[in-house]
Amino acid sequence: MSDARLPGPDQVGATPVVRISRRHIWIAAAAGFGLLILGVVIVVAVLPRVLTTPTGSVAATPVATTPDGEARRIQASLFYLADNGTELVQASRPVLYGATPLEQARRIMDAVVEPPPEGQRSAIPAGTTVRAVFLAADGNVFVDLGGAIVTGHPGGSLNEALTVYAIVNAVTVNLPDVAGVQILVDGKQVDTLAGHIDLRYPLGKALEWVRKGQ
């Protein structure tokens, strides 16, 4: 953040003799004042932004590739609406590989909001986007989604629970070290998506929503 440089080894011991004139003092004072102003600007404008940007987040990272140049993928369990509309079904889907649990969580979430494969119905409203995914020190993952998940939601506690647990289960089933998942909307904590399911705290895996005996 600073332009100040330490003298290199070639300069040490070869310090030229400098005559300090009044002009030099003025220049030094002016430069010092300039640096002070720069410092003030940094503290006021830049620092708060730097301090509030979470470090443990993934927005977009380069895709890992296999030796033959194809994007490396894992098989992940994703959850779609069952044909009866009242439970979830598990489906194995190729998802881009992530080098860290956080990166993997992001890849999984990207796949969760994608249009469903042929023959499946998504429990997530169309148009939902993933803004960011965060991993907290306590093992909880925070999934920040675009507002379409609220505005496009058809409502009802059943639909709402299916939407929420399609997300929570996708992250917790594929990443066993994740304790819970909290859904954020447009960067903010929300009470609910449609008025029923409490999203103020992270939610744990809930396999009772998944059809048995698949």
Partner: protein
């Protein structure tokens, strides 16, 4: 140097401008003597926060900060109210704790409290009835008559009918001055809600002026007729030239009066809070035939209220009695502050599959909140005692107040599912279920959420619209309250 000074002053100006843009949003507080005080507020989530020092000054009280216990004490007129920053409660007088819809918080060098602090803590402590009208940003203190007037305009034939609903009722007199009607209300002022559906030819405008409501008459208006079918309802028929005058308005059937019967021995259920879900901009589910969840459950709630009051003689409160969006925490705090014995939230369900149908009764899933409760208990929060010092109490955070009642709520849910079956209300494949339910978790009493059916299903929607099914649902809930009331154990906390 000059440029540095310039850039610094620019920064200062920018800051001042940013601060200035935040204002000027204010509540008007009408004091018992009719004096009006402006109280700036800030909205945090769904709660309006107001500066405590200005409230204290308006009422001639004193505010002291107790650094030892980190509390704020409001004193005066022989009363003491204690607040703790970060906590959403107030200790009023000796040992009465009231929960507030949001925590007391610091902003700059002032303390902010939810505006409902005036209604829940300050008013009761000073013996002054205090009413907070959030829609018009008005706080009415004491017995000041300041009716809330809701105008409604409709066309009847060629004429127009303007109905002014006044809450509370106040005498009013109507006179004509040129092309305006002046409705003088015998009150300290009027609180006029925005008018909807006005017609430019008959009534182009309506506004409040002091203690009067001024109604502008349009070019087609030739005469008027005034009726007061009920106390609190003033009907002005604006007559158009040539059109036959409409029939006079009929009085509206009012709810049956609350029966204040002494509870029978052993009965521990006295107050029921019914919560019609959603409201206002949040319509909830929309059925294929156009039925809106918010409207359906409000109608059902009103029927249920009349049935429980009339047949069981219990006190029934509705969390909303109009098409408005009441914040969830305000709904449960209404129940908590009125020491309700049962909280029943009414909703309608939706499924992506149009054949999914049936009613379901939901209760809170306690395991989801266990961590939150343990964290709060581990903190072992000392509570300042009014007489000085502090003591540690076993506390349940207000936002998970439902926790100790989770089992009792599940028992009520099971009774209700059985009673619905007995009344031949079709049930969903899972008749009861426990979920982390936001509408119930703040209720400090047994609480259930009834999904009356799936509005996403045309079959359910049509059935719910029939009087038979709506009556059966109301009867099943009345049966449940009656059973729970007999079997007192099912409403006790763990």
């Amino acid at each position: 140097v000059r440029s540095a000074v310039l850039s610094l002053s620019c920064l200062c100006l920018l800051t001042i401008q940013l601060l200035a843009q935040r204002g000027p949003a204010a509540y008007t507080v009408v004091m018992p003597d009719g004096k009006r005080i402006s109280l700036p507020y800030r909205t945090a989530g769904s709660v309006d926060l107001v500066p405590l020092d200005q409230i204290v000054a308006a009422f001639g009280l004193t505010l002291t900060e107790d650094s030892a216990v980190g509390g704020l004490t409001v004193r005066g007129r022989g009363q003491t109210i204690l607040l703790i920053p970060g906590q959403s409660m107030a200790s009023v007088g000796p040992g009465r704790i009231v929960s507030l819809p949001a925590a007391v918080q610091e902003s700059g060098n002032t303390w902010l409290v939810p505006v409902d602090f005036m209604r829940l803590a300050l008013g009761p402590s000073l013996g002054l009835k205090t009413e907070v009208r959030r829609s018009t940003h008005l706080v009415v203190v004491g017995d000041v008559r300041l009716p809330e007037i809701t105008p409604r305009f409709e066309r009847i034939g060629g004429n127009g009918r303007l109905t002014l609903e006044m809450k509370p009722a106040a005498p009013a007199r109507v006179t004509r001055e040129g092309n305006r009607l002046i409705v003088r209300v015998d009150a300290a002022g009027v609180d006029l809600a925005p008018a909807t559906g006005l017609a430019a030819d008959l009534v182009p405008g309506i506004r409040a002026e002091g203690t009067a409501v001024v109604v502008d008459l349009g070019p087609a208006a030739s005469g008027y007729r005034v009726d007061t079918p009920d106390a609190g309802r003033l009907v002005i028929d604006v007559l158009a030239a040539g059109a036959p005058p409409p029939a006079p308005p009929k009085p509206v059937a009012t709810d049956p009066p609350v029966l204040e019967l002494p509870p029978p021995a052993g009965a521990n259920v006295r107050t029921i809070v019914i919560d019609p879900g959603h409201g206002g901009p949040d319509a909830g589910v929309r059925g294929p035939g156009g039925t809106l969840e918010k409207t359906y459950v409000l109608d059902l709630a009103r029927r249920l209220k009349a049935a429980v009051e009339g047949r069981l003689g219990l006190r029934v409160l509705l969390t909303r009695d109009s098409d408005e969006l009441v914040p969830i925490d305000r709904r449960t705090s209404l129940a908590n502050n009125n020491k309700a014995d049962l909280f029943v939230s009414l909703h309608a369900n939706a499924s992506m599959h149009s054949d999914t149908s049936g009613a379901q009764v939901l209760a809170v899933n306690a395991s989801h909140y266990q961590g939150r409760l343990e964290a709060a208990r581990a903190a072992d929060l000392p509570v300042p005692v009014v007489t000085g010092g502090s003591r540690a109490i076993d506390m349940v955070p207000w936002d998970v107040a439902q926790m100790p009642f989770a089992d009792a709520s599940q028992r009520v849910a099971e009774v209700l599912a059985r009673r619905l079956t007995e009344r031949k209300v079709p049930l969903f494949t899972a008749p009861t279920r426990q979920l982390p339910l936001r509408p119930l978790v703040g209720a400090n009493m047994p609480a259930v959420l009834v999904e009356v059916g799936f509005l996403s299903s045309a079959r359910d929607e049509n059935a719910l619209r029939t009087n038979d099914l709506a009556t059966a649902i109301v009867e099943a809930i009345v049966d449940t309250i009656s059973e729970v009331r007999r079997d007192g154990s099912s409403t006790s906390p763990q």
